[in-house]
Amino acid sequence: MTEPRQHALPDGLPTLRIRDLSIEFQRRRGAPLRMVDRVSIDIWPGEIVGVIGESGSGKTLTSLATLQMLPNRAAIAEGTIHLDDIPLQDRSERDMRALRGDRIALIPQDAMQSLNPTMRIGRQVGEPLELHSGLSSQRARQTVRKLLEAVHIREPEKRVQEYPHQFSGGMQQRAMIAMGLALNPQLLIADEPTTALDVTVQAQVLKLLREIRDDKGASIMFITHDLGIVAELCDWVYVMRNGQIVENGPTRRLFMAPQADYTRMLLDATLSIHTKPGVAQ
Amino acid sequence: MNLTLRDFDWHRWRLVILGGAIIGTILICAIFAPWIAPYSPYDLDVMTMLQSPSGEHLLGTDELGRDLLSRTIFAARISMQVAFIAAGVGLIFGTLIGVAAGYFGGLVDLVLMRFMELLFSFPAILLAVVLMASLGTSILNAMIAIGIVFIPGFSRLARAATEVVLREQYVESARAIGMSHRRIVFVEILPNILAPLLVEAAVAFSYAILLESALSFLGLGAQPPEPSWGNMLNTGRGFMTQAPWLSIVPGAAIFLSVLGFNLIGDGLRDVLDPHMKE
């Protein structure tokens, strides 16, 4: 358990403030299992924050808690989550629905699986517009085409009518990003969006995310297990292990002078594979 | 380590246990019929015909004065016999064909499975009825006909399961050290395809009972005076106003047997299938 970060930014609220969040999983028999333990994360406007950890570290659960989309048997045991000044942890389902896709958007892990195979891409990408702005899919088409352009999908007029299986892996991921961007959310939660992609495609997606932050000022929570990406993309990093935050800090400082043993271990394991000089900033 | 009764995962096996209880009861009736039934199923007594349930005849009597309860109990024999043998025929031949197709592949596979698919495209009752027409009406032929109806289903399952097993390494190694085809099949393949076959067998039992009673109902199965739930239901049709119990009881017996086997099948599927339940 570490201190929540101290920040030297001007006053104002962080886009996302998670304080002492704990998530428990109800087992059929026995005591509930604590999957996330007193986690605190701050994400300020326009920041790209990396949440790094191995599988099972609780990073995905934390992100799902933010959307109040935890799986059936999991629940928030304690702690608070705020989007600006809006508390999320006890928010009604109805009110959460208003926020999802509109102010907080999810870019999930496996784009192929996360797209409806029997629905045209255009309709899916434009669905947030339908749901929140009441636009019919016809009228949303203009905006959808622009969204596809924004994520560098060529021939958007043609692509809009196609189905997910007709897209390549990289295009699918970018379509998911377009979907997330539809209503200019304050916070984008990207859960390992590049894991299944080739390195070149990965680079394109990362560049795209950076553009989004630069052009629209959105904050991004970037969840990954890949230190290399974090080094390249993120401003601030949280390291998670077994449901706890082990360390956090500006990317550069974390990489140069890690304080926790676990962080050091991760770095050692990675640096022997990647030989990436230079770190983001 | 001493396992007590409490350690047994009752919850997980609940459907199998429930179904097993029902079928167990019916099996006991079938096996011990002569001792359990209060009367002989053939004892006519025209004086007591079409009596409603009473102290003397717990379920009433039929149109020839025979005790309905006794006939129902004895009819269980036929249903159970047909069910087991028909399912057995289907299981054995179906597995043989399916494993052969999966194991040898190529032309053997193509020819066998195409034929199986063809048989499969006939509705079961139609196939059973046509086979019975060809073989002649008798209980034995009913067993064969219904067994034949089951063969395609089992063969498909056995073939699919064989394919899965064949991809595993140990078959490769077995062949590499020179194991004969027959040994490979019996020692390596069969034990591993047992699980899905068992589930299918339970389903087959229940379906066999349904088919047998349908055939008897149509007059193509057990012939009077042999009691079969199906033909009892058929005769009952003529006395629906005077003696409704003649139509209710045999049907209820069929219903319970089918339910029992269905529960076992469902239960086995839940237990044996490594399915995530959330």
Partner: protein, 317 residues
Amino acid sequence: MGRLIATRLAAFILTLFAASVVLFMTISVLPGSAAKSALGMEATPQAIARFEAQRGLDRPLVVQYGGWLTKTLSGDFGTSFQNSVPVGPELLKRIPVTLELATLAFLIANLVAVPLGILAAARHTKRSDKATTFVATVFGAVPNFWLATLLIMVFSLHLRWLPPGGFTPFSQDPIQNLKQMIMPALSLGLVSSALLIRIMRASMIEVLSSDYIRTAHAKGATETIVIRRHALRNSLIPYMNVAAVEFGFLFGSAVVIEDIFRLPGVGSLVLVGIINRDFPVLLASALTITVFVLVVNLIVDLGVGLLDPRRIKGSRA
């Protein structure tokens, strides 16, 4: 898409041929001389021989099949052994009856199963789901001919609301027709629906646990929209495949149900053929039912192809 239709059609025709061979061979082995059945038990051996020679029953089976095939393809379905009446017209009269029965039964089955299955899946692990599954399991074990008998006892004999049997064409008297068809259709449909509820439920549960459903929720969609817009189409695809098989089963069960309700359909014709050892009648009616089943499978197969864009469109750009 055109390619899909062509291949499926070719497979259909091939299967039909093969099925006719199987049926022909099986039925030709009909024991109990057809001749005796037609001419009576006291028929002389010479009369029997003449009977058989007239109908080519003494020729090798393959030749017989060839003869039968040629005649059938030109529209001649043979003549009944029993009364020398041509089979074709009788068959034609009966086809609409069986079609009406099977279609009504199938309609009932789906109208019950789809909504209930969806509801149960949406309330998965809650009490209403468990109750629905329980009822479906129990109902699925009911023999449809028993249900038919019970329905007759209650609605015909006791309440006298509905006729216990018989058939009036819809064009002649729609109300009477429906009154006569409702119980047969219910006996078949309700039992079928029990199985189909569980299939729909399972399919929907599977779909609802997919990632793209999570995506829909993450966009702020309500439960209703998720089910209606995203889950429904995807869960109907596997459902329809099973429903097609069930439809086939319905045609088979029609043999029994038509007998109970004295409906003059193709199913009861099969029985007539068997009882009278009437080879042409049996063959023609059994084959007709098989044709129905194969056609239904073909239609559903193509229908699924329409629902599932992965089948029609090509793959990746």
